[in-house]
């Protein structure tokens, strides 16, 4: 760490231009941070307001006193632990399945040359161009045929059979890894799978983490899938549970809705904050990097 920073500093003396650059950087960062943070802060403060503080024409910034019991109500109503467990279960299975199957497929699409590869890849890209709503009815019929409706299976089993977006993402990363790096291994008689598992996977760890993260979030926030396939209240996920706070003719408790939203977001924020280093900076620290 220290070595790298000194390298940065000695690259140039502190000229005025450099200082100005720094100031501009931080100014831009702060400006965007406020923009990006604001809505979230508002979500958090709203989650602590009383109904009276929401029902005013002038926005209330700081609820006083903060209504912590909103969170108690929400976790009780959401059946929080149960729904969280269901959601985590779907996340674990989906992320595992996606990362495994997509990295395999991406390897096949990027580091092995075989006839028909590029045609299949074009078809892969093409599948993303069909709007999902028209696939829903045949897909439902298919899952019905499998006897999967009413179970969790339609929500995670397909993940083990890869998805176009993630294959494409990983393929792009795999393609940036210099060919001569693996050529040497081939000469040494390494099997293709060993190259994949022992060289490519560690090198592309940041990309794999990104795929895992996106996949996790998609499942975490997915409302439609669970809505369609689950019909037992005990199987519900957090995103599906959110709807319990919206009532057409009974008044939506925005404070509770926002509290529920915060409850859903906070674990992910914490997870992201503590793991991001490992997947954004991971590679350069492992020393495998060139």
């Amino acid at each position: 760490m220290a070595a790298r920073e000194s390298l940065e500093v000695d690259a140039g003396t502190l000229t005025t231009q450099r200082i100005l650059g720094r100031v501009a950087t931080y100014a831009a960062l702060l400006f965007f941070s406020v923009l990006f943070l604001f809505p979230l802060v508002w979500m958090l403060t709203t989650s602590l307001k009383s109904i009276g503080e929401i029902n005013t024409s002038q926005p209330v910034w700081f609820p006083s006193p903060p209504q912590w019991e909103n969170y108690k109500i929400v976790t009780a109503k959401l059946n929080f632990w149960r729904y969280a467990l269901n959601t985590v279960m779907l996340c674990v299975l989906t992320v595992t399945g996606t990362v495994l199957s997509c990295s395999l497929a991406a390897y096949g699409f990027s580091r092995i040359k075989w006839p028909g590869r590029d045609k299949l890849f074009i078809i892969t890209l093409g599948t993303m161009m069909i709007p999902f709503p028209v696939l829903m009815v045949p897909l439902y019929a298919l899952f019905k045929e499998f006897g999967w409706v009413g179970t969790f299976k339609p929500l995670w089993v397909p993940a083990f059979f890869a998805s176009a977006y993630n294959i494409f993402l990983l393929r792009q990363f795999f393609m940036t890894i210099p060919q001569d790096l693996t050529d040497a291994a081939v000469v040494d008689g390494c099997s293709e799978f060993r190259i994949f598992w022992q060289m490519i996977i560690p090198l592309a760890r940041s990309a794999l983490m990104v795929v895992g993260l996106f996949c996790f979030m998609a499942v975490w926030n997915d409302f439609l899938g669970p809505l369609i396939y689950l019909s037992n209240e005990n199987d519900f996920t957090l995103a599906l549970g959110l709807q319990a706070f919206q009532s057409q003719h009974g008044g939506t408790d925005t404070n509770l809705l926002m509290a529920a939203g915060s409850v859903m977001v906070l674990p992910v924020i914490v997870l992201f904050f503590f793991t991001q280093k490992s997947f954004i900076e991971g590679i350069s620290l492992t020393g495998l990097k060139l």
Binding site: A11, L29, F32, L35, F36, L37, F38, W42, M43, S57, P59, L104, Y107, G108, R111, K113, W114, P115, L120, L125, G126, T127, M128, M129, I130, P131, F132, V134, L135, V137, L139, L142, P158, F160, F161, S163, Y165, F168, F173, T176, Q179, S206, A207, V210, L213, M217, N221, L242, L257, A260, G261, V265, F272, F273, Q276, K277, I280, G282, S284, K289
Partner: protein, 293 residues
């Protein structure tokens, strides 16, 4: 086919086997069925009846179809370049040697974590013409802000802004790409006296071009199918100013029960997206640099 080629074919097929299975079962079967439905009168609840190309001919005279297509293309033309530039800019900003980098990264990524319902309510409130914070902020500069979401001129820009807020997704991808740029390239450039901009222009951008390519292609595909956020935030209003293609398709499929017609729309969109993606691909030829294969 040489033995080498044969071996590679077997290896390639083995590696892609899960996807080939998934592709055929979970995507191709539904896709081919929807292709068949596009030539049918199909209400979902009753069996499809083959009617030839009638759905496609009706599309050509459907004013709402043209309106939604128009809306979508306008949105795409504005949102896609903005999103790309902003994504790269933020990633470059975050990739510098700055204090509290993890914190800033988290902040820029936060919006992508907010559930859709909460996000919609949040932004409706921000864009509120009377009490919204956005107009409040504009008033400091003496600007009398519009009624964003209920004004036919401003509803689309409002959605573009909401979309930009979720740019953190692509920032994360760019950052992962930036980490892959070998450090010695920069050191060599610095020795040659290249400044920050020159390094960015001649090293960083070419080195992450595969990632930019990915984001542009995915952005094109995604932006033309924009659905969830406007569906919850504006429902297509005011006066269909934010009725996008996939929203109209959804209405036809699930609210008007004209699934056949919706499938025809889907395949028309498929052709458009494929065309535009191909165009983006052509444009990128020679600009995308692959270190590997």
């Amino acid at each position: 086919m040489t033995r080498e080629q044969k071996r590679n074919l077997v290896k390639g097929l083995l590696f892609t086997a899960p996807w080939i299975l998934g592709l055929s079962i979970f995507t191709m079967i539904p896709a081919l069925m929807s292709l068949y439905y596009s030539f049918c009168d199909y209400s979902v609840l009753n069996p499809p009846v083959f009617i030839g190309a009638k759905n496609f001919t009706s599309l050509s005279t459907d004013a709402v179809f043209w309106k939604s297509l128009n809306n979508t293309l306008i949105y795409a033309v504005v949102a896609l370049p903005l999103g790309t530039v902003m994504g790269i800019a933020l990633a470059l900003l975050l990739n510098q040697q700055i204090i509290a980098r993890p914190l800033f990264r988290t902040i820029f990524f936060l919006p992508s974590l907010v559930p859709l319902v909460a996000l919609a309510i949040l932004w409706q409130w921000i864009f509120n013409g009377e009490f919204g914070v956005l107009n409040h902020a504009l008033s400091w500069f003496g600007i009398d802000g519009p009624n964003w979401l209920t004004d036919t001129t401003w509803a689309k820009p409002a959605l573009v802004i909401t979309g930009l807020w979720g740019v953190g997704n692509s920032v994360v991808i760019y950052l992962a790409g930036l980490q892959d740029v070998p450090r010695d390239f920069y050191e060599a450039a610095r020795v040659d006296g290249a400044n920050w901009w020159q390094q960015t222009r001649h090293i960083t951008i070419p080195m992450i071009s595969p990632v930019i390519y990915f984001n542009v292609i995915m952005g094109t595909i995604g932006v033309l199918q924009i659905f969830a956020v406007p569906y919850v935030m504006t429902g297509g209003g005011p006066a269909r100013a934010t009725l996008f293609y996939t929203m109209y398709l959804f209405d036809q499929a699930f609210r008007y029960l004209n699934m056949g017609y919706a499938c025809a729309m889907a395949w028309v969109l498929f052709v458009i997206v494929a065309g535009l993606t191909l165009f983006a691909h052509r444009m990128s030829k020679g600009h995308v640099y692959y270190g590997g294969a």
